[in-house]
């Protein structure tokens, strides 16, 4: 592995150097033959930096437009704009904004948008940057990977360190005279700004592609964040102080952070809309998540989870697609395509206000810094929040809506049954959501009154009832609770061609236990209409169940109907075969019709 370090004295012609045409000296940085030192060297670096404060930043949102950048404080103060098309996703590092544009690396004051410095970098683009209030360090690369460059620049624009590693370096951090450069998914090289050499190296047990300052500490990681503290030497053994998110299978497979070794385009894509957000915080001697919450975004819908068990705690639905954000203290800041930044209370998901970037944006970067989000409006019960999110008529949301439905289904509240019914009966409900709602309804055991009301509905063109109720799932549920009052309603649905054959099958099956003699006529009509025309398995099954009911509830009349069907050449052979065994052998076996109910067999 070839690596070069350009000492400050050799940086007179930086533009020439980055093209690789100038002389260089070899250093120990990024050595591939490095042997684990059991944390000794990184512990020494920690000891060296123990008393150096890590700046926190003030909390900034940065919007990327077609023509430049817009910045605003999360407290709504100091909105600024910068003209200049960026060609990579900017970084907010402490109090500076760093990005690349037309062959230059530049830094802006995050509070004012004023340019601090710019440097030529040929065709490289920004992967990410760090800043300690005095020095900015940036990792650059080519779009296709490789061509790496790590450069440290002081506030006056002087390059104070440069490395050209052959490995892909992720997002770096800097503190005093040390640059932290993550690479190889498991290492963080602590590079000396004085010598260019590695002052120490961290070997992590988890994937590490970024170093970042959060809340006055430096963290390394990607999906697990490892704090750079006095326990850092244990990172390769017992793990040091680290925090990760509870595992949840979520639509779109969100990640806490994208890999730091790639150059991200300025425009947001789907991975920016589907992300986890969380903020490490200290609780006693443990590392936890701030407010014990983490959030996941899925375009317009945001869900908040409990830290320990990953239980769903809240859902927030925003007016537009989320394309960026960050966790602050006490809450989250989510940035949408309209340029609105929505502050959300971490504990409840409540609305804690919003600030505006003032224009539609194509990408967004937020740094929570030391901004504190407090309060948050009352957003109703979790069920109400989920209902609101599910009712969003947006096809793109169907996947997360299904996820939310499953969460909703675990709640016994009868009103949840109504919500599921509203979805299942609404002709505009997306097919995936509909299937999930129907599936959940079948296993509901509460909200019976809502189920009965729904069964009273039939397709009705004149009344705009353009989707039949979920008869099959309701039949399953009502049969499971033995709700006899459902029998006439289910029987009426047997003869409604708007119901699917599967729904009819399930209704007939439920009637095996629920039907009384009062439903005899309706069931007989169904049997007569379909004993010779049933053209699919579900309908055949329904006809056979109807025959069983007729025999058991209809007494001699019912048996005569079946006998005639058995002897009728027009009866479907498969039906005939199934029902022929239903006829009692002797007259004494004929049950009396009156006051009989079915026992399923």
């Amino acid at each position: 592995m070839r690596k070069t370090f350009f000492a400050p004295a050799a940086l007179a012609a930086f533009a020439t150097l980055v093209t690789g045409c100038a002389g260089s000296m070899k250093t120990s940085a990024f050595a591939s033959d490095w042997q684990s030192d059991n944390g000794k060297s990184i512990a020494a670096v920690r000891a060296h930096l123990a008393s150096v404060p890590v700046p926190t930043g003030r909390g900034v949102a940065l919007g990327i437009t077609k023509t430049g950048l817009i910045g605003v404080g999360l407290d709504g103060s100091g909105r600024w704009s910068y003209s200049g098309v960026v060609d990579s996703r900017p970084s907010i590092a402490g109090d500076v904004v760093v990005s690349t544009s037309k062959g230059h690396l530049f830094a802006l004051d995050a509070a004012t948008g004023k340019e601090l410095w710019h440097l030529p970098i040929a065709d490289k683009r920004l992967r990410g940057a760090g800043d300690d209030g005095h020095t900015t360090v940036a990792s650059l690369g080519s779009d296709a990977g490789g061509g790496g460059l790590v450069v440290a620049v002081n506030r006056s624009g002087t390059v104070v360190g440069t490395w050209t590693p052959t490995v892909d370096v992720g997002i770096p951090a800097v503190l005093s005279d040390i640059v932290f450069a993550p690479w190889g998914n498991q290492y963080v090289s602590a590079l000396s700004l004085t010598t260019g050499d590695e002052a120490g190296r961290l070997l992590a047990r988890t994937v590490v592609s970024r170093a970042t300052a959060i809340g006055g500490s430096i963290y390394f990681g990607e999906n697990t964040m490892l704090r750079f503290d006095d326990a850092i030497s244990q990172s390769a053994t017992t793990g040091g102080h680290e925090v990760k998110l509870a595992e949840r299978e979520l639509p779109g497979k969100p990640a806490w952070y994208p890999t730091g070794t790639r150059v991200l385009p300025p425009e947001a894509g789907a991975p920016d809309a589907i992300r986890f957000y969380a903020r490490p915080a200290e609780a006693g001697d443990k590392l936890v998540l701030d407010s014990q919450r983490f959030a996941a975004t899925y375009f317009r819908i945001i869900v908040g989870f409990n830290e320990g068990d990953g239980a769903l705690r809240w859902v927030r639905t925003l007016p537009a697609e989320v394309i960026g954000g960050d966790a602050a203290t006490g809450g989250f800041a989510f940035c949408d395509v309209n340029g609105d930044v929505w502050l959300t209370a971490a504990r409840t998901g409540g609305d804690a206000g919003h600030v505006s970037l003032g224009a539609k944006i194509e990408g967004c970067v937020v740094d929570g810094g030391d901004f504190k989000i407090a309060g948050g409006s009352d957003t109703g019960t979790l069920a109400e929040q989920i209902t609101h999110a599910i009712e969003l008529g947006d096809a793109q949301m169907a996947t997360v809506q299904r996820f939310l439905l499953r969460e909703l289904g675990t709640n016994d509240d009868p009103t949840i049954t109504k919500t599921l019914l509203d979805l299942a009966c609404n002709a505009r409900t997306q097919p995936d959501v509909l299937a999930e709602a129907r599936s959940l309804l079948a296993s509901r055991r509460t909200g019976i009154e809502y189920m009965i009301d729904a069964l009273k509905q039939h397709y009705d063109f004149l009344s705009d009832v353009l989707r039949a109720p979920p008869v099959g799932p309701l039949a399953d549920a009502l049969s499971a609770v033995g709700e006899k009052s459902a029998a006439p309603l289910l029987a009426a649905h047997l003869n409604d061609p708007s119901d699917t054959p599967d729904d009819v099958k399930r209704a007939a099956h439920a009637l095996l236990t629920l039907a009384t003699a009062s439903e005899f006529d309706e069931i007989r009509t169904f049997f007569s209409l379909y004993r010779a025309t049933a053209d699919d398995d579900a309908l055949v099954a329904a006809v056979i169940d109807a025959a069983k009911i007729l025999v058991h509830l209809g007494g001699a009349d019912g048996i005569e109907v079946i006998e005639r069907a058995v002897s009728d050449p027009l009866t479907e052979p498969v039906v005939k075969q199934a029902i022929s065994s239903l006829i009692p052998a002797k007259t004494s076996d004929i049950p009396h019709a009156a006051n009989r109910t079915m026992t399923r067999r």
Binding site: K456, H458, Y459, D460, F461, L462, S463, P488, L489, A492, N495, D496, P497, S498, P501, F520, D521, E522, R524, T525, F527, S528, L529, Y530, R531, A532, T533, L539, D557, E560, V561, R564, A565, D568, P569, L570
Partner: protein, 283 residues
């Protein structure tokens, strides 16, 4: 609220249907006698037909053809029984066609449940059959059929309600018309009285003229006992105000079709309007 409870209607229909299923010879024939003159059918012939109607598909279809060919209205109860016990699609379609031919009101009860059959052909055939067998059951069933998911069934039902003079169905027909059932226009034109006609005419401009004119036609050609000359003149005046080419052509066409013994006063207004709008009236 004129809309009836779906369930109540279904149960009424199904109960009536169910009574046919219990073997009670001639039970279905106890309704209103067939309107058409029946050909003589001997009891032996009926017995033979009854037997054939209980046979295999070919036998049943053959018997139905025989009833159809011979216009054997006396066999209507046999068809009721056949429909009540059900059959294959081929049998049902043949039975419904025959029922249509026999025009026996007593058949309406047995036909009604088939307007909601899962087979598209069967339910459409059943709806058409009710237009011929008529009677209160037919009207109730057609009103219900306006709510069907099948646009053809809705359209046939709307036309049928007009043909069957089901004035009580007017609110449903207006609803159907406003929801895009074009066949309801002619029915409304056939059934409306006084302000109801004005209500229909008030839709002019909101609905395509080609659809509206099917209703106008009905209004203009209805006898004066049903729609007064003044009402017709008012309608022509309204059309004249539209002043479009298609209105001109339509009025000109109406003038040509106007009955010789029709109102001279109305004819004069139609001629004048057609001339004024530019429909090229032939004198």
């Amino acid at each position: 609220m004129l809309r009836r409870s779906l369930t109540a209607i279904h149960i009424t229909l199904f109960s009536a249907f169910a009574t046919l299923f219990v073997p009670a010879p001639d039970a279905a024939a106890k309704g209103t006698p067939p309107k058409e003159k029946a050909t003589e059918t001997s009891s032996a012939e009926l017995a033979a037909l009854d037997k054939a109607l209980k046979g295999d598909e070919d036998s049943v279809v053959g018997a139905l053809q025989s009833i159809d060919d011979g216009d054997k209205v006396a066999a209507a109860p046999l068809i009721s029984k056949l429909l009540a016990r059900g059959g294959t699609e081929k049998v049902l379609e043949a039975a419904l066609k025959t029922a249509q031919k026999l025009k026996a009101e007593s058949l309406s009860t047995a036909i009604a449940p088939y307007t909601r059959h899962r087979s598209e052909e069967v339910r459409r055939q059943a709806t058409r059959a009710l237009l011929k067998t008529k009677g209160p059951i037919a009207v109730t069933t057609l009103e219900q059929a306006l709510r069907s998911p099948d646009a053809v069934v809705r359209g046939t039902a709307a036309s049928g309600l007009g043909e069957l003079h089901a004035h009580a169905a007017l609110p449903e027909l207006f609803l159907a018309f406003d929801k895009g059932v074009p066949e309801a226009a002619a029915a409304l034109g056939q059934l409306c009285v006084g302000a109801e006609c004005d209500q229909f005419i008030g839709r002019t401009g909101r609905v395509g003229f080609d659809i509206m004119q099917t209703g106008f036609d009905q209004i203009l050609f209805r006898p004066p006992s049903e729609v007064s000359d003044d009402a017709k003149i008012k309608l022509v005046g309204k059309l004249r105000e539209l002043g479009t080419d298609e209105v001109g052509k339509y009025l000109s066409d109406v003038a040509e079709r106007w009955p010789k013994d029709g109102s001279k006063r109305v004819k004069q207004v139609i001629d004048s309007a057609a001339h004024s709008v530019g429909g090229g009236v032939k004198q």
